[in-house]
Symmetry: C2
């Protein structure tokens, strides 16, 4: 048994989440029924979808009036022009619109397909789910409320599945976090040979999101995963959040 | 306790690995000393560095004669021209050479910095370590040998740390694998609302590599991590390998 042993386990018994629900209370209630209960040093990885739902970030397509640009893009891509309009509303920049794929930069600076807008696991026909307005703020709010309810302040990560430029498939990344070092900068450290490490910054929060993705059943309602073994990255203050992971626009070499 | 609980634990007591070493035997010996021992259904994530070392993929820079192009790039980037030459030798295409960063497509089709060539955790001055010639073949070979030594055939993943186009920090990905479904294609499945899932292919092997990265101490000698809880993705045959994760050149929208 190693000090660095990592475990990831979904929180059982979560109900369907609806707009206005107190997500932290739902998590705290499920934690009370689970053993071991959530404690300081844990990392709670929550699917973006339930965070967005609790915040009412749902948009009925019937209310959407597509612009000419949305109509044009929709025609090119074979998409619903109303969905394209919602994606445009959530974005600052369209990076690629080809092969049925719409890749944009969101208002948060995230580069992903459809600005994170999607329809899976959303109740009702013709309703789409948007990313939280400020996923770091969402994580901080949930963490503060968990602290009040549980007397423990686990780190909170808001995770979503993103495609990658040169690799197939999607991997979960952190779009929001509180109380977890998003990046572990080991530059200046030494390797086992005593040589200085170069260019080594570990994407801790993204890797935690990916580990959590492997522990949960995405088709089901396992929207919350508890990770143990990352205590060394959990901080008392909320920290810089996942905004710190976004590569600044002027350092982007690929758009 | 959930059926999907995931755990990742480094294999303790690995020695320094040198060219010609039988890596599977080293892993099997460490497994015999660890409890619980490696078994069918486990996923063994091995750092690329030790795989490369065991295969003798080390190149002394003293033997390298930089070309004019390597000298030019080295001057622009502030790098050692001999290292740049090694990177060029490992690559089919230079994608970006700016800000001190050299991003290429390797002979395997991987897009990463410096073609995966690096100097950290390599013994001796002025020796660089290259990626395995065929990391999927490396994984298959280690798996076959483990099957012989242990009577169990865990999946094997060869992992390396890659940067990402729009996100800071590095996350571990699978550059080779055997016996693990590299991608879980859930298109055509249904979400909790019974709606058909779209565009949902999970990058299982990459997420496993990322989970393992969180469990080990990169500066130390914890080059092998055992993941439990992914039995549903472990296959008897070796499968398509991590080559299946590489986005085909003609579907690349960003280079």
């Amino acid at each position: 048994m190693s000090a660095l042993r990592l475990s990831a386990e979904p929180l059982a018994g979560l109900p369907e989440v609806a707009p206005g629900d107190d997500l932290a209370e739902i998590v705290a209630r499920a934690s009370a029924r689970s053993a071991p209960a959530i404690e300081d040093g844990d990392v709670i990885v929550i699917s973006q979808k339930v965070v967005s739902k609790s915040e009412g970030r749902l948009r009925p397509l019937a209310d959407v009036q597509p612009s000419d640009r949305a109509h044009d893009l929709a025609r090119t891509l074979g998409k619903d022009p109303r969905t394209v309009q919602v994606v445009l509303d959530e974005s600052t920049e369209v990076l690629r619109a080809e092969r049925g794929v719409l890749i944009t930069r969101t208002r948060h600076g995230l580069v992903c397909a459809n600005a994170g807008v999607d329809q899976s696991n959303v109740p009702g026909e013709d309703v789409v789910c948007l990313l939280p307005i400020d996923p770091d703020a969402s994580a901080r709010k949930i963490r503060a409320r968990l602290r009040g309810l549980l007397g423990a302040a686990p780190a909170v990560v808001v995770a979503d599945s993103f495609g990658r430029a040169w690799r197939l498939g999607q991997a979960d990344v952190a779009i929001g976090c509180a109380g977890l070092a998003p990046l572990d900068d080991r530059r200046g450290g030494r390797d086992a040979e005593g040589r200085e490490l170069t260019a080594t910054i570990d994407a801790v929060a993204d890797e935690a999101a990916s580990a959590a993705a492997l522990a949960r059943d995405k088709a089901g309602r396992e929207a919350v995963v508890v990770i143990r073994g990352l205590e060394r990255y959990v901080t008392d203050d909320d920290g810089a959040g996942a905004a710190a992971i976004v590569r600044p626009r002027d350092e982007d070499m690929f758009t």
